[in-house]
């Protein structure tokens, strides 16, 4: 397990970065200082978590990366190019699923493709493929209100996968479902990572979740959000996913992070 006390900008030769943040700050109208000069790299092909107490600005940071919110200062580089708005190389998974209640599962998953002008037949084929990949085959013609919370989030995930973006941005995607479903999702996420060669940026407030799924964890401090630590736990993720939670490195990491975060709570 390697812990860096200071955030490092890794040399560009080792792993190139899908997303880089340089001195990103966000001040809302009314003076709320959400983020303060955040500089972080997100290595390509890895899953990086943003972890921190409530109000530390992790969702704000994620939306700035997605281009849904403008940064007050600083730069966001995606694949080496500075971006200010949404782009085809990034896809977002929402905490409250953001499904259109009037559309079927198929229509929802195909939505992103449809907006980009992909032909109808191709849209539907791609959508069906990803619906199957998230395990919802047979539910193509159902409406969101006929699905459970876990299934709705899988639709959201399929929609984000369908546009074949390089970077997948996930905003506390598993926080709106029950504990058992959440654990199942975490396992599925590991499997997904093995199959799809994407960069994941994952926002969560759960320490266990972050250590379970991530290659790197970026810890943010309370408002104004700054990077307080970057941790890269070295947990072997073999075939037995249940063994991860008993691995000593996992347990130590969780413990260290919790002791560090406790200081920020009143």
């Amino acid at each position: 397990m390697t812990i860096h006390a200071e955030p490092t900008t890794s040399p560009a030769t080792v792993t190139d970065c899908a997303v880089e943040l340089r001195g990103v700050s966000k001040v809302y109208a009314g003076g709320v200082h959400a983020l303060d000069a955040v500089s972080v790299d997100f290595p390509r092909g890895r899953l990086t978590s943003l972890l921190g107490p409530s109000g530390c600005g992790k969702t704000t940071l994620l939306k700035i990366i997605a281009g849904l919110l403008p940064a007050t200062s600083g730069e966001v580089l995606v694949n080496g190019k500075s971006v200010r708005g949404p782009g085809p190389e990034r896809a977002f998974v929402f905490q409250d699923f953001a499904l259109m209640p009037w559309a079927t599962v198929l229509a929802n998953v195909a939505f992103g493709l449809h907006l980009r002008g992909v032909g109808k037949a191709e849209c539907q084929d791609t959508a069906r493929h990803y619906i199957a990949e998230v395990g919802l085959s047979g539910f193509d013609d159902k409406y969101p209100h006929e699905l459970s919370g876990g299934m709705r989030q899988r639709v959201g995930l399929a929609r984000a996968l369908a546009v074949k973006a390089d970077v997948l941005l996930m905003d506390e995607p598993f926080s709106a479902v029950d504990e058992q479903t959440r654990r199942k999702f975490q396992e599925d996420l590991l499997r997904l990572r093995a199959i799809e060669n994407k960069t994941f940026v994952f926002v969560t407030h759960s320490i266990e979740e972050a250590v379970y799924v991530s290659d790197r964890i970026v810890l943010l401090s309370t408002r104004p959000g700054r990077v307080s630590q970057v941790i890269a736990p070295d947990i072997p993720r073999g075939d037995d996913v249940d063994a991860i939670r008993r691995h000593p490195v996992y347990l130590d990491t969780v413990d260290t992070i919790w002791r560090g975060l406790k200081r920020y709570l009143d």
Binding site: L68, A98, A103, H145
Partner: protein
Amino acid sequence: MASLRRETGAESAADGLGLSRLIPFGAFAPRTALLDREPSALAAFVSHPLTLRVLSALAICLAWEGAARIPISFAFPTFSATMVALWSMIADLSLVHAFAITLQPLVVGLLISTVLGVAIGVAMGLSAWVQWLVSPVFIVAQAAPLAALIPLIIFAYGIGLTAKTLVVCIMAMPVIVLNSYVAVRHAPVSLLEMGRSFLGGHRQVITRIILPAASPVIFAGLRLGCAAAFVGAILAELLITPVGIGDLITYNRSIADYPKMYAAILSIVVVSVLFIELLEVIEVTVFRPEKRARA
């Protein structure tokens, strides 16, 4: 257990037919398995929704018939007499002609109000300065008794189709505009962000997300506007111009042919209810198919 005893007391009053099981809220009906009883088959039949509807309709008709035979008033015809009169008016086509006249300004006015009203309301929802400029007008119009303007319009613009269409429009538009505005403003923020994150253009977000999300409230406004339009059309006819359904009502009242008068009134009420139901069908079919699945 004192609370259980109290439950039994309250329960027995309502529970003669085992109907307490059908009352949803906790405090009024015991929820414990001990006190749950299976309702008898008869009780289940009587409290079935369709049975209740048919029974209540029948009860009203019988009450009408009975009350008229008492008689409550010489001006209160029996249900059967009204039905006979209704049939005779349909048979001799007088009802059909009357509706042909009354429905013209109504349908035209409603179409104009819908197109204009929804457009203005959506524009208000999307643009702050449009909202600033236009909403006070409609807020005042919504609260005010616009019916007072009707005689004026007729005086000024005569009794033709134009004047009556104008009347329908001023009655229907305020509620359509305001409902559309509220509907657009209440489009869920996360859906809008989702649209933007998938690179939806401005127009795409409006047509594919905002409008479908807003359609239930917009259609509620259309239904209210439809009711107001009918009020406007009938008021115009009752007040000034002796044509159409209004004419049937006033003429038959003046010659004291009450069965026909009531029949005419009943027919316009039924038609307005049908129009409103039609709007609901359109909404479910075209805009919100999941409502059908939900129902």
